[in-house]
């Protein structure tokens, strides 16, 4: 379950950025997770609770914005929404495997109290 590592990284990034701003505490952390980034959202939430415990980020809310994945068809070049690799292009039936959006996972912001 790599979500635990990801959660620990989120907590570290949030704390580093919050402390740089002399925060008293972190109210919430906003992240962006692509639907094809290989992250299980429930596992990430679970991991976040554990990772934040006894840290400066304890009690902060994790706000997750999911970014819907899109693929470019290698045959007809059309851009199509996808939820997984190997879905078929509705225009030409080619496998959709060139994912152009939805693989990123980023910390967007931290909201701090000061």
């Amino acid at each position: 379950m790599h979500e635990m590592s990801l959660a620990m990284n989120i907590v570290d990034l949030a704390i580093t950025n919050a402390k740089k701003e002399h925060a008293k505490c972190i109210n919430h952390i906003e992240v962006e997770i692509g639907t094809m980034s290989g992250v299980m959202i429930d596992a990430l939430r679970f991991g976040f609770e554990a990772a934040a415990k006894n840290t400066f980020a304890e009690g902060a809310e994790l706000v997750i914005n999911e970014v819907a994945a899109k693929a470019r068809c290698r045959k007809c070049d059309a851009i199509q929404p996808v939820t997984a690799y190997f879905e078929e292009c509705p225009i030409c039936n080619e496998f959709l495997t060139d994912i152009i959006q939805g693989k990123d996972m980023r910390v967007l912001s931290v909201t701090i109290d000061e």
Partner: protein, 245 residues
């Protein structure tokens, strides 16, 4: 009302402002959003970048071997090391959740090896590699194999600073692996199909496996080997020689 934070320090009828600054005292907290906009794996990727620069400066070719457990990574490594040890300086980082078994097998071939036990962790990360390379006598112009934890999912996401990921799949696993675990096949630059001596006994369609892998990653190169019989090992070894040349 306070322009700075929107609070109402009194009954709203009187406001007091100083010419500059935030003109009243109160104890409550101000809430503010700070943009971060960083990859969640930012710190891993930073360490990996430094490691990659180090490898490049020392002419170290680092290959990150990824596969499911039991694909024959360690056996392939043993045979590869025995074949190339006189020509190329080789070192190995072994990743497993626990035990020193793989490191002991590699040590028996006579090359420097360090074992990273990840405990409950399902993948190696850049910090583990940073630590491991400090434990090794890593020479310039050498070949470093990093045998990742057997797992065809998580290691795909973690950059270790390697030159490339080499995905290894054995013929006993089924030719649909690239379709089931596409992320790893997309992340890899080279595929090695192992245990080809068992092809007569299993329903593994080599062409179907390649077709599915190439659908995800059209640039993927393939080798097919049997570390047991030596079949196909020459082209794999030549590929390594060229890579390190």
């Amino acid at each position: 009302m306070c322009d700075h934070c929107g609070c109402s320090p009194s009954d709203n009828s009187v406001t007091i402002h100083k010419p500059s600054g935030h003109g009243h005292n109160h104890d409550h907290q101000h809430r503010r959003t700070v943009r971060v906009e960083q990859d969640i794996l930012f710190s891993n990727n930073q360490v990996a970048r430094i490691t990659r620069e180090y490898f490049q400066s020392q002419n170290i070719t680092a290959l990150n071997l990824v596969s499911s457990p039991g694909s024959g990574k360690t056996t392939l490594l043993e045979q590869t090391i025995r074949a190339l040890n006189d020509e190329i300086r080789i070192a190995v980082i072994e990743g497993d959740q626990q035990t020193m078994r793989d490191a002991q097998r590699i040590e028996a071939t006579g090359v420097p090896v360090v074992q990273v036990n990840t405990g409950t962790g399902c993948h190696l990360d850049a910090r583990m590699i940073e630590w491991a390379i400090h434990q090794l006598p890593l020479k310039d112009h050498s070949l470093l194999f990093i045998e990742n934890v057997g797992n065809l999912v998580c290691p795909a996401l973690f950059d270790l600073g390697e030159d490339m990921k080499v995905v290894i799949i054995s013929v006993t696993e089924g030719d649909d692996k690239p379709q089931k675990y596409p992320t790893m096949f997309e992340a890899a630059s080279l595929g090695v199909i192992t245990k080809t001596d068992l092809l007569p006994y299993v329903d593994f369609d080599m062409e179907e496996c390649r077709r599915l892998a190439l659908a995800v990653n059209p640039a993927l190169e393939f080798h097919a080997v049997s570390a047991k019989t030596g079949q196909g090992m020459d082209t794999w070894l030549n590929w390594l020689r060229n890579r390190c040349g």
